[in-house]
């Protein structure tokens, strides 16, 4: 069998179709196990393809034999490949974590696993696809599964968060659809490479309109202020691992789309400043809002929004190093925030309420989880020797190359706020008064494994960032090198075999 990027999408879709049947006719447990196998397979594809593109450059795969401008194609570049691999890995870890997660198992866990798998598939589709409408479709797949997962717990507030998400998400879909429509009327094509090639032909005012529509549409997914009203609710009300998936996968896809539009499709430099300021404001508002949160997951949600603002801002700086930094940030944010959500949800699970004050003294009862949470907190605020530091350094020194002193100082000032609320949690964990009445639910082994894997990644990357920087360099080059992208999609489009 030949490995191709199509498998990323085809296999999970097939699996999603088969799982209800299998679980009904063969064994119930299969509904929970199959997604894991699918994720493992995705990781396998990722590794194979990443090794392949090492020498081949960009793989452009067409679906159903149609040539590139006309047919739908999947592009596996170092950039999209990097994100796809990241998403598969995080997806797998989240599956591993939520496998026999007690609170999920109380509900219908097979639905959960299918939805989660589909969400990751949608996100991977967004990253891989070379067709703008296809991107829209994948985005909707992701979004709809995300709405369902947000309201997965039949608790009071899950539905509320889901509905808000849906309301705003619908706007996103409308706007993106509108933008695609105008784009299509202008260029008559939906292929991203071709759009990129021809985008200079669009009249300026229309072009900016399209960009605005895209920015607002994808900005909603990328949690840009003021479009992120849904985010804190969705993060805090969804099951813990889904919070991790939002931070590590869904939002990443949104950022990917936003960045694709700005860097590849239109390559419009005015948008860089927009990204910087948008990102900066997002970061400031979100981090300062996180400061006063009493609910752990909501705090993590705001922090996540802030981090995404940071990522956008890093992209906005626009130099190669900044993009490397931004990608590094995305990577870090994916693993660290996943770790935080995973360990955090065990902590909140054991504290009866999600309040931070209720966590006091859990450090002694759940030592490993607490240490992992601590590592996550230290990493996300950018303390060496954890991985968060390096991404921050990359971005900051990129900003310094452009002599943006004020920007740097603002970022760091916001980081101080971040430090305050994260350290408050850590100190509550370890040094608060213990509540003896709580009965402790120890995390299962698989959950521990996935969290420890993330923790070790954080440490390893933190001590020796070289393991990841090569990948990031390639990815950044792939993102900014528009010409190669167009060329490899439009000419290298021979269907494999």
């Amino acid at each position: 069998m030949v490995i191709s990027p199509v498998h990323y999408i085809a296999v999970p879709l097939l699996a999603a179709f088969l799982i209800p049947l299998l679980s009904k006719f063969i064994h119930k447990e299969l509904a929970r196990i199959v997604p894991g196998i699918v994720f493992l397979y995705s990781i396998f594809i990722s590794i194979t393809l990443m090794l392949q593109i090492g020498d081949k450059g960009i793989i452009s795969e067409v679906i159903a034999g149609w040539q590139a401008p006309w047919g739908i194609n999947l592009v596996f570049s170092p950039f999209s490949g990097f994100l796809a691999s990241l998403m598969s890995i995080i997806g797998f870890l989240i599956w591993l974590y939520s496998y026999n997660f007690k609170k999920i198992d109380k509900e219908q866990s097979q639905k959960y696993h299918i939805l989660q798998m589909m969400m990751v598939t949608g996100a991977i589709g967004i990253v891989l696809t070379g067709d703008i409408f296809n991107l829209f479709v994948f985005m909707e797949i992701t979004a709809i599964t995300a709405y369902s997962l947000t309201s997965f717990y039949r608790e009071r507030d899950g539905a509320e968060a889901g509905f808000k998400y849906l309301l705003i998400g619908s706007f996103a879909s409308v706007l993106i659809l509108l933008a695609i429509m105008i784009l299509y009327t202008q260029l008559g094509t939906l292929n991203m490479a071709e759009i990129a090639q021809k985008s200079h032909l669009i009249p300026t005012s229309l072009k900016t309109t399209i960009i605005v529509l895209f920015l607002v549409g994808f900005g909603i997914e990328a949690e840009m202020f003021p479009l992120n009203g849904w985010a804190p609710d969705a993060y805090s009300q969804s099951p813990g691992p889904i919070g991790a998936a939002f931070a590590g996968i869904v939002v990443k896809a949104g950022v990917y789309a936003l960045v694709r539009v700005i860097f590849t499709l239109f390559d419009i430099h005015g948008a860089y400043d927009f990204l910087i300021y948008g990102g900066l404001i997002t970061m400031i508002i979100a981090e300062t809002s996180a400061l006063a949160q009493t609910n752990l997951k909501r705090m993590l949600a705001y922090s996540s929004i802030g981090q995404m603002g940071f990522v956008l801002m890093a992209f906005g700086i626009g130099t190669h190093q900044a993009i490397v930094g931004a990608l590094f940030l995305m990577f870090n944010h994916a693993i660290i925030k996943s770790l935080l959500f995973m360990s955090g949800s065990y902590l909140t699970y054991n504290s009866l309420t999600k309040q931070i004050s209720a966590l006091s003294g859990l450090g002694k009862k759940l030592p490993l989880v607490s240490i992992l949470f601590g590592i996550g907190a230290f990493a996300i605020v950018g303390l060496p020797p954890f991985s968060g530091f390096w991404s921050k350094l990359y971005v900051l020194s990129a900003a310094a190359d452009k002599n943006m002193l004020l920007l740097i100082m603002t970022i760091l000032a916001v980081s101080i706020v971040e430090i305050i609320y994260y350290f408050r949690v850590v100190s509550t964990l370890y040094y608060g008064k213990q509540n003896p009445e709580i009965e402790i639910q120890k995390p299962s082994i698989n959950a521990m494994v996935s969290m420890i894997a993330l923790g070790i990644t954080i440490l390893v990357v933190g001590v020796y960032p070289d393991v990841i920087t090569n990948l990031l360099e390639n990815a950044a080059t792939a993102l900014t090198d528009k010409a190669t992208y167009i060329q490899s999609v439009l000419t290298q489009n021979l269907p494999i075999n």
Binding site: S205, L213, L291, L383, S397
Partner: protein, 623 residues
Amino acid sequence: MNSFFLILLILLAGAAISFALGKISSIISGTVAFLSIASASVLFFTQLKNNTYIEFPLGEIQLQWGIDSFGYIFALIVLGLGSLASLYSISYMQNKERTGIFYFNFVLVITSMVGIIFSQDFISFFIFWEIMTWSSYLLIIFNKKDVKEIGVKYMIFSAIGAYSMLTAIVMIKGNYNTFLISDAIQAGAFNFTNNEYIPILLLIGFAVKAATMPLHVWAPKAYSNSPMSFTVIFSGAMSKMGVLGMALVLVRIFTFNANNEAILPNFSPIILQQTLAWLGAITAVIATLYALMQDDAKKLLAYSSIAQLGYITVGLAIGTKLSVMAALFLAIVHGIFKGALFMVAGAVERQAGTTDMTKVSGLIRKMPFTFFTALIAIIALAGIPPLGGFVGKWMLYESLITESNSYFLVILVFFSSTSAFLYCYRFLFGLFLGQEEEATKDVKEAPITMIIPMLILSVLLMVTGAYPGILFDPIAKGMETIGFNNVTWDMSVLGNIWGNSVNMIYVWLTIVIVFIAAFIFLTLKGLKGTRYVSTKDISTSGEIPLEHENLTFQINFFQPFRRAAAPMYKRSMDKIWNEIGSGLESLFNFTRKIYTGNGQTYAIFVIAFLVLMLLLKDTLFLN
């Protein structure tokens, strides 16, 4: 294997092992920590030669480690004090919980400080700096007291410092395209004429650790609240990392054009120099004023640490040869005597259960060795001849008066130094003198592993008093490394540039002779008739204090002074920062109201943003 890595590895291994053994036995864990630090010290002082450097890449970043004479000064403090403190903490931590975490962080702090000394490039410098910060944070909140206030305050200020340092580092990278400290210096990154903000930002970063006003408010509680065996390091050695950085930067600012004298290239460094010096002096004054109002011995010492660091800042800021020498000398000696004092406080805390001076008194008979250490260290702290503290103070004053024109500064410094006698006396009196408390009746002398480090430090203080030259030697070499020329020194003669000098040996001789003569006379005369009576047998107008009555005067000790100096106590930096903090917090609380919770509002935001963007699209995207 390279000794740099070997030393760090030994320390890290020590940290890891003592962490693992913490659950089994705190003594073993502590012994491991001590052995690793001690063996690292031995390795450091035997294997590493001055001016050896190694370079290795980390990704695209070229890292450089090395040791020069300047770092050597601080290595003396860190490793010397570190070994003693870890020896001390074996007994100190004996019956405490979670000793694994304690020793892990303890050794990690030492490791990071050694790393800072090694670092010749900003990246590893910053990394070690941050490791030091968070590992010390974990130690500060180790005692679980006021965790939120103390820990968060410490973290905020550390972050302010670290991030301004990071800003400077990336700006250096941006402007000069180097992470190496030596390259940056050569490119003139610290030079004021090129840009003002890099040195200023760096100085802010270092000033936080050196607890200079107005960035000192974290220090008192952080110092007093962490386990004493760590505070020894915290106050004695870690604050010196700030001094190290300040010295590096300041010397580069001031001696850019001239080597020996502070010929100032343009006007703004003078302002910076004066600002910093005044800040240092004001720090000293304020911290002293607050120190003498404290009832808790640990807090008193904490404030006094801040005050001492203020002197050091003054010395560095003045930037002449003598003043820098004084500052560095004070840095080392402060490490010694403050280390000894915190050890004393720790011993008292361990033996008597508290260091609250209103609850403990009259320990001198119970803990004579501890008292002896306290006495020696306090004399050094107060700067009274003939101990090491005096040498540093003398040089500082002489340099202020003779080499710079900071006459008014000297008054401030002197005021602080004189007021320091008050709290010095308070410390000794509060804990050791006065009548014995009923509650502390059964207190015994601290165990031998705690006594030994204390006595070693006391002896060191005496030796540095008689032969300050043994410290001048490394200091002079270090100063020559960072850019001074012809730093001269003498074994025991202190001299200023006006030609006056003090010979410490003569001072010692006089004092010792007089002491022996007077002691023999006073002891032997009427030996039979001399009676030692209890402290209850006092002349209180014939009234007889009962057994449980304690007449020792402890509460509102310096009330008259406080009344006299009332205006100075009105404002406190702490309050100002708290006001800023709560102001910001309410601002943030206001801005987060944007997330109203109503989905429709969010939808309106989206549409409004869309409309706004559509209106502004041309100006935004077409520039």
